[in-house]
């Protein structure tokens, strides 16, 4: 009794007791493990053979193979064993793997162009959004702009609109301008969506930088733009990087606009992945391989962004 009392007073009141910490810790770890299992299953499926992937009951232990990845990157045709036997010996390990399934590689699949589209559209729109966003955020942070609150709300509200509803007039407009299914069209659209987040986030970051430095620079004869470039930007660099990653994640993950406004040329990964078809419906190992490759950068970004996540999801309102 007294020991327990002594123990509880020895601890700071707001600091949880070791026992309650242990309970909390194990519950959280349990949840984390359950929540990560679906992802691990997909990563594992990427290394299954076609038959292991659709085995009944599902297989937890299996012989790993790179078939899924090979199928993802190639188009194959089925041939008779006689035909394959007559071919010269396979040149590469993946040729060999495909021939074991009575198939030959007919060419590369569309995954690389789609991946390149994702990269170009993602980086293009991120660059533009951060560039425009920095300028606007600086102005909102440092100048008295008439109706600033209304403008900021207007900027934010454009992000909150239902994408399918936005896509209807954009579709019509892009048809007139020949921007349907072009990378430029998608970059402009994603920039418009991202710029709102960029303005709000960057305004928060720039607000935190003391004005004194720039004012000193202005007195020294810098122009506004020079002061922004040489004084503010170096101090805002973490904030700009965090904002850029948020914009990149949005463009990388976006599906609704991509599926409604692109069909081939400018198609990105999200609308492409579900339609990786094998011989009887979805080719699950290949889909899982594509998903894995697609998700890896996001996992890295999440780790990088850990400290800024909260800011990003609340448009800069909650800082810590």
């Amino acid at each position: 009794m007294t020991a327990a009392l002594a123990k509880s007073t020895a601890h700071s009141i707001v600091e949880a007791s070791p026992r309650s910490k242990a309970v909390a810790g194990s519950l959280v770890i349990l949840y984390a493990v359950i929540t990560i299992l679906p992802l691990l299953w997909i990563v594992a499926t990427a290394f299954k053979s076609q038959s292991d992937a659709i085995a009944y009951p599902p297989k937890v232990i299996f012989e790993p193979t790179l078939e899924g990845y090979v199928n993802l990157f190639t188009v194959r045709t089925r041939q008779t064993p006689d035909f394959i036997a007559k071919l010269p010996p396979p040149e590469t390990w993946y040729d060999k793997l495909v021939r074991q399934r009575d198939m030959v590689i007919a060419g590369p699949s569309k995954v690389v162009p789609r991946f390149v589209n994702s990269l170009i559209i993602g980086f293009g729109s991120t660059f533009l959004a951060v560039f425009l966003g920095t300028l606007a955020a600086y102005a909102f942070s440092r100048f008295r702009i008439p109706l600033a609150d209304d403008l900021l709300f207007f900027i934010l509200s454009t992000r909150m609109m239902p994408p399918v509803a936005v896509a209807i007039p954009i579709y019509l407009m892009y048809r007139q301008l020949n921007l349907t299914d072009t990378r430029l069209g998608m970059i402009l659209l994603y920039t418009a969506v991202n710029v709102s987040l960029a303005v709000w986030l960057l305004k928060g970051f720039i607000d935190e930088i003391p004005r004194e430095y720039e004012e000193a620079a202005l007195v020294d004869g810098y122009t506004r733009l020079q002061a922004l470039r040489k004084v503010v930007l170096p101090q805002a660099v973490t904030g700009i990087a965090a904002t850029a990653i948020f914009c990149l994640i949005f463009s990388w993950n976006e599906y609704a606009f991509a599926v409604l406004l692109t069909s081939g040329e400018a198609q990105t990964m999200p609308p492409f992945i579900p339609f990786i078809i094998g011989e009887g419906g979805q080719d699950w190992p290949a889909v899982a391989a594509a998903t894995t490759l697609f998700v890896v950068p996001i996992v890295l970004f999440t780790v990088l962004l850990r400290k800024h996540l909260l800011r990003g999801i609340t448009f800069g309102a909650v800082r810590k």
Partner: protein, 287 residues
Amino acid sequence: MAWLFVAPTIALLLAINIFPLVWMIRLSFTSLNLSMSYLPLRFVGLDNFTDILTDEDVWFRLQTTAQFVIWSVALQVVIGYGLALLINRQFRGHSFWTTIILLPMMLSPAVVGNFWTLLLQPQIGPFNYVISLFTGVPPSSFSMTGQVSLAPWTIVLVDTWMWAPYVMLICLAGLRSIPDYIYEAAEVDRASAWRQFWSITLPMTVPFLMLAVLFRAIENFKMFDMVNLLTSGGPGSTTELVSITLKRAAFEKWRTGYSSALAIILFVTVFGAANIYVKALNKVKQR
């Protein structure tokens, strides 16, 4: 001078958002159908709006959407808040596990919807096996995405898997914003832990909770990507959220005039809700 900095952003938003929006308002008063675009543009006044607002089918889709919003947000609040309370105990390694928990919400909703269809396949997916392990129900006797009674819960489940971390993250910020001395004072007054929760923790985190709830409600009200890939509105129309209805009217039936009107109804609704959200945002900002 200041305008020079803001002008490019405003110009882009005018071109990509406002101009199309005005165009869409005009179209919503017409009977334009893109699959018959050779017909001359005919203005029909408010007909599209009265059509939608007297149509039982659209009304049912909105109810489906509301049920999805209510259940998913409620579950996310319970799980998210609970996790935040646990993580706030600052056990060893909490930041590592928090990062793991946050992963689902960073993923592409479309890709998530797609891979959950594999996990939820009655025979080849692991989900039904895990359920049968705990309940003894044979795994191939039910289908999470194919059954009318289960499909609405499936979209709630996957959405919660994805977004409970979001609520958790915001609630955690709320918990950390409470200064220690308030609890110390409560301890001096010998208030029980239960009482401390109800009279300190909860009231002080309510603004944060509001923020999370409003944002998730708006996001789920316009939900399209994840559900479109998980169930594509089926079976029947049990999971057909209003965004899916809109997409079908606009991009499958090509009823542009009609779908513009529906889009405007959704626009105004979201815009109204966004006003309330920004008010909540500013409230939290002042803390």
